[in-house]
Amino acid sequence: MTLPDPLPLDGGGELSRVEIAYETYGALDEDRSNAILLCHALTGDQYVASPHPITGKPGWWERMVGPGKPIDTDRFHVICPNVIGSCMGSTGPASEASDGQPYAMRFPVITIRDMVRAHVGLLDALGIETLHAVVGGSMGGMQALSLAANWPERASRVLVVASTSRHSAQNIGFHELGRQAVMADPRWDQGDYYAGEAPDSGLAVARMAAHITYLSEEALTEKFGRNLQDREAKTFGFDADFQVESYLRYQGSGFTQRFDANSYLYITRAMDYFDLAEEHGGKLANAFAGTQARFCLVSFDSDWLYPTAESRHVVHALNAAGAAVSFVELTAPHGHDSFLLDVPALDRVIGGFLG
């Protein structure tokens, strides 16, 4: 869908002819009251419960979204848009600018709030005034919080899983590592690589580093330990001797098949710029003043990327604002990625909260 109006941006200026790619699951009620906006994470996409068109893999949250699942598409109309800046159909750096060439680094730096502004444009175009809920994990949770803070009347329920109201120095540091890996790849060429080869090796390194932050040390140890990859002994070379190396290389190269390096730069930047309190006079509680929405935050005890303290920080602000809020720290071994994996308690909490 092309948004009818140009999209004003936090960094100044506006983006015209904004395209939003989205998927929907489940039927919309006649009174348009059963819609759930599902926001995806950094490298996610709109294919939440349907096969990915490039990789053919199942949707990224099929265990959560579908008929009879916690986000029950027999009852709810789930809308999952691809964020602007991404590369799965919504306008991003790989999209054509008005001169017919890809934007590349001419694409404006966007924010989480800009992404959500585009989502709101989509909801307007779809004629959905009030969402039953906005739901998101990780960067999706940031979008959910941003919607709740900036368009408080648009969602009755706000569900935020494994997320934060601001990027920490450590979060920014890891993202900068990833960006520098992309930009150090000679094929990046100041972002103008669309006519030739993409900076796949740089993007793969970025993904490898990021992937480590998505898992707990316990999960890595459990999965790989010091096991060797298809060999009896160390080779005294720099092949992927260890299973963990082989796994990360596989994750890195697989990622380059489906993701655009410039999109990775722009979206990580948007996350780094995210600070909901800063947008609201430095006080997070102000972001939620007068909200009528019910909130639910979930963290995982093994998530060191967005640890429980970050969720608690949001919960404290919501309490100070007098908002109806639930919060639970769930025990799960997988680190940040727990929100995508088999954690039955998460299913129960999400199902119960959505009602």
Partner: protein, 194 residues
């Protein structure tokens, strides 16, 4: 669902449609009863499994430590603040009482009465820390770090300038009169205001 007598008394005396904060809400039994009365009810609970059960039932419960987290709640944000069977587990019950009467216009507090005759007898004749129906966990494992009696609580309320609006006493399921309550009651419930 039948609920504990102290919770039943509290549920029976909260006005319908009130804003309520249930501190140490456990599995949410009181919150469910209050939801039936159209109350806007929130909970705080330290145990993650309990919180998960509450949230799964659609209750608004925050996993947290009341000793620390009550400070985030605004003054007089609630019509009632409820502390059921939790006072004796607080790091500083006196400060907890202050916080209750800050966040709530009124407060309900229930606790096991350490001056119950059975407790006294266990200590006097057994010479050991009592393990009774009301205090079922051994001294080394109990979360009750500040045992309190009916008289102690009345003193604390007075010291804190809190007015005791109503009080109820129980032995098991049975409600008792006020006379001799400090020796006869296993549990006490107080409604306070300031």
């Amino acid at each position: 669902m039948s609920i504990r007598p102290d919770l039943a008394v509290i549920a029976g005396h909260v006005s319908p449609g009130s804003r309520v904060l249930d501190i140490g809400c456990g599995d949410g039994a009181l919150m469910m009863a209050l939801r039936e009365k159209d109350c806007d009810v929130r909970g705080i609970e330290i145990d993650g499994d309990c919180v998960e059960r509450c949230v799964s039932q659609g209750l608004s419960v925050v996993q947290g430590d009341a000793d620390r987290d009550l400070a985030d709640y605004p003054d007089r944000g609630f019509d009632y603040a409820i502390l059921s069977q939790t006072l004796q587990t607080a790091a500083r019950p006196d400060r907890m009482l202050d916080e209750l009467l800050r966040v709530g216009t009124r407060a309900f507090v229930s606790f096991p009465n350490f001056a119950h005759w059975r407790t006294r007898a266990a200590l006097m004749f057994g010479g050991r820390m009592p393990v009774t129906r009301a205090i079922p966990v051994s001294w080394y494992a109990t979360q009750n770090i500040h045992h309190v009696t009916v008289k102690d609580f009345r003193d604390l309320a007075k010291e804190k300038g809190a007015r005791i609006e109503r009080e109820w006493f129980f032995a098991g399921e049975r409600q008792l009169g006020r006379a001799g309550a400090n020796g006869r009651a296993e549990f006490a419930v107080f409604e306070l205001s300031r």
